[in-house]
Subunit: 263 residues, 2 copies
DNA sequence: CCGTCTTTGTGCACACGTTCACAAAGACAT
DNA sequence: ATGTCTTTGTGAACGTGTGCACAAAGACGG
């Protein structure tokens, strides 16, 4: 099939660690706020606090970009805003298409955060013919049939998928075939893309499930005991796999979950 | 100011690595699909492909939960669905409130993925009095004044913030004070919360900026040369900090950006 | 009951990310 | 000029995450 990679292989693009890249927008936001208040310089300590990170981490992050600070003083806010913007590629214009103009797609189209930083909604695309022409956020919705033409005409390289899960892969394939090389996916599916195409996903459901995990843990630690059964355990495990759980490694006292396996 | 932690300290909750927890929902989704197709068992290889991860990683992830597979056969789909659901705390009901019923809040309220997995939208809350009583996704919007009462009455421990950035911290503080211990933040701000409260953020703007970074890199690698200036460089750096950029390490020729998009 | 064949579970090595702690750079006062 | 004081930039130690590769578990056929 040769479908290609699904996850970016953490390319460590040209020396700047992925983790650092992911934090740059955070710093940029904090710096922009300072800039608007006409604050001339800021120390790593202050900026780190504003961005919600450790100051050593922030300094190391900046060190990957070059040495833009002045010892004993801190960082020049304006200069740093510029350097980070440039590094992130925000000094240029990025036309973006949003595919799938349902509730979410419309919300995204209306989101102000787009234009603020070099991103421009070039087109809204939906498969529903009855939506064609209707303006959403001041932009007329176009039909999926014209997807390829729209991508090409506008030189779009970033696509946002806000379709139902079932349509996502197909839309993705068409976007990629038309020349899109970066995709932000809001549909709850794993997208398969060829090498060289970046996919980032935003998944409400996954985030909530992660929160639920931690929430359950908190509850379990506070109120132990509580042998109440939750739901019916499913059938039975295949054969004889109902043992073990820590295999005598770490896990000090016991080796059981807060209140597991009823039957 | 003693405001408290901003980022979860990667607590390694009871032996299950954060990275694993973040993947469990992915596995669960793939397994649910298999279950609906009445597939009885699945190998780590197949399931890994469906979830878009490496099979060794998947096996290691499952090993943290216990030994639920059968060698030579694979994993029992139904059983595994149950085990993961239980581990994630999805066998119980999680009432959730959404604060800020604008475009995004409404889209979230309408999102079907909520109910599907143990999450129930217990209430919609907005600060705009004219919205009060209006039904969104079949649920009447309530006013912010009643936030505390709503949290308490429904035993809500998970809150979703979809307000403008300016209101987010204040809403967050009220949620936490009322007993919420997990927050999913869609507002583009760094939230400050006391210890023991989990915050996860979803930030469209940050995701796009990360994509733009990689996109710029790709463009720069394909079309080198191109000494075109991008935008006006800001004033001048503070003092004498206009040197270096790789400090004679990698980065062969020059030390400037690959060469940005002409126009 | 034994041999073969598939697939799990995991030890190990490596890559990546985070944090500490401190030398060196520079501002600023005297 | 020289000294002091602040704050950066980074070496080094540590922790977390990933992936290979393989022994052992068990299914299944004869």
């Amino acid at each position: 099939m040769a479908t290609g990679r699904t996850h970016r292989p953490a390319t460590r693009s040209r020396g700047i660690p992925e983790a650092t890249v992911a934090r740059l927008p955070l710093y940029l936001r904090a710096l922009t706020a300072l800039s608007e208040r006409s604050v001339p310089t800021v120390s790593s300590e202050e900026l780190a606090a504003a961005a919600g990170v450790n100051s050593a981490k922030l300094r190391k992050d900046f060190s990957y970009l070059g040495s833009y600070g002045t010892r004993g003083v801190g960082y020049d806010v304006e200069y740093l805003v510029y350097q980070i913007s440039r590094e992130l590629g925000l000094t240029q214009d990025w036309p973006v298409v949003i595919v799938g103009i349902g509730n979410l797609g419309a919300a995204l189209a209306n989101y102000g955060g787009f234009a603020s930083r070099g991103f421009r909604v070039a087109a809204l695309i939906d498969a529903d013919p009855s939506m064609a022409g209707k303006p959403v956020a001041g932009i007329p919705v176009q039909h999926t049939d014209d997807l390829e033409a729209i991508i090409e005409e506008n030189g779009v390289s970033i696509g946002v998928i806000a379709t139902p899960a079932g349509a996502a892969q197909q839309v993705c394939d068409r976007l990629v075939a038309a020349g899109v090389t970066s995709i932000l996916n809001f549909a709850p599916t794993v997208l398969s893309v060829p090498e060289g195409v970046d996919v980032r996903k935003v998944d409400l459901s996954i985030e909530l499930q992660i929160l639920a995990f931690h929430e359950q843990r908190k509850a379990g630690e506070e109120a132990p005991g509580e042998g109440g059964a939750d739901t019916t355990p499913p059938a039975a495990p295949p054969a004889a796999a109902v043992r073990r759980r820590g295999e005598g490694s770490e896990q000090g006292p016991d080796g059981d979950v807060p209140a597991v396996m009823p039957a």
